[in-house]
């Protein structure tokens, strides 16, 4: 009789507490991972956008210089016009050696209040 009664009781307090503690720990871990994944995804998206924009601007600038459409003096404003980020997030270094112009374009974009992503690309073209 006693044996049958015990089986009807379900979980003991200890069993329930152990289960709840384990569940809480695992849920906390899962939540931490989830938040980290969301943050990483945001970083990845911004960086992808930055890479895409920066490479397009640099490619267009290179072609504009090579074809003579743009001069070296105007190339910085040509690049900045094509980029969506604020002006302070764009650094263009240029150097000319023996008729070749090398452009080094660095762009930075904020992901949130504290973090930012940055991309730096270089290419060279012959001046006309």
């Amino acid at each position: 009789m006693n044996k049958r009664k015990k089986k009807k009781n379900g979980f003991t307090l200890i069993e329930t507490m152990v289960a709840v503690v384990i569940f809480t720990v695992v849920m906390s871990l899962a939540l931490a991972i989830f938040l980290s994944v969301v943050r990483n995804q945001r970083f990845a998206l911004q960086r992808q956008k930055l890479i895409s924009e920066t490479s397009h601007a640099l490619y267009m600038a290179k072609n504009a210089l090579a074809s003579g459409e743009e001069t070296e003096e105007n190339i910085e404003s040509f690049i900045k016009d094509m980029l969506s980020m604020k002006e302070e997030g764009v650094i263009l270094e240029k150097v000319s050696v023996n008729g070749r112009t090398t452009l080094l374009l660095q762009t930075t974009m904020k992901v949130d209040e504290e973090n930012e992503v940055s991309v730096k690309l270089q290419t060279t073209t012959l001046k006309r």
Partner: protein, 156 residues
């Protein structure tokens, strides 16, 4: 009371929770790969630009003539060159590796003082009147070497 009415034991419950959580962790873990994929995208994009740069520098008549004069009938020949016009003849494709450095202004060239993830080797060989050029830009990603190759033929 029959066995079916007993409900779950603590062991069964723990196993169920573990499997459930394990699945969630694996699925979420896959999502975290996104950030490293953009690292690859960035390296590949820069490698394409550096490969194009290699071809562009060869458009310079003076550099092309300098290379031609040093070819001496060897075919193919291997070269490291940079935007400043520095030319180094290499004995092999392997010898060209790890040749791009970053200088104090951040430009990639052959004389900088900081290691860069990129190496670029330009293979040049003559084909009749034409000069065939292959630019190979390499970088390491997750321990494996990845390459971007561009080909161009220059006619006299």
């Amino acid at each position: 009371m029959s066995k079916k009415e007993k409900g779950l034991t603590i062991i069964e419950l723990l196993i169920t929770i573990s499997i459930f959580m394990g699945t969630i962790v694996v699925v979420l873990g896959l999502g975290s790969r996104a950030i490293s994929e953009t690292d690859y995208l960035f390296l590949q994009t820069q490698a394409v630009f550096l490969a194009e740069e290699g071809i562009e520098i060869l458009k310079d008549d003076a550099i092309r003539s300098s290379i031609k004069s040093q070819m001496g009938g060897e075919s193919p020949t291997f070269w490291s060159i940079d935007y400043e016009g520095t030319i180094e003849k290499k004995s092999s494709l392997e010898g060209c590796k790890e040749n791009l450095k970053e200088n104090s202004e951040g430009f990639y060239n052959l004389t900088g003082n900081k290691e860069s993830p990129f190496s670029r080797c330009i293979t040049v060989w003559e084909d009749g009147e034409a000069l065939k050029v292959k630019t190979k830009t390499s970088f390491f990603y997750k321990g494996e070497e990845r390459d971007v190759n561009l080909y161009r033929i220059f006619y006299e």
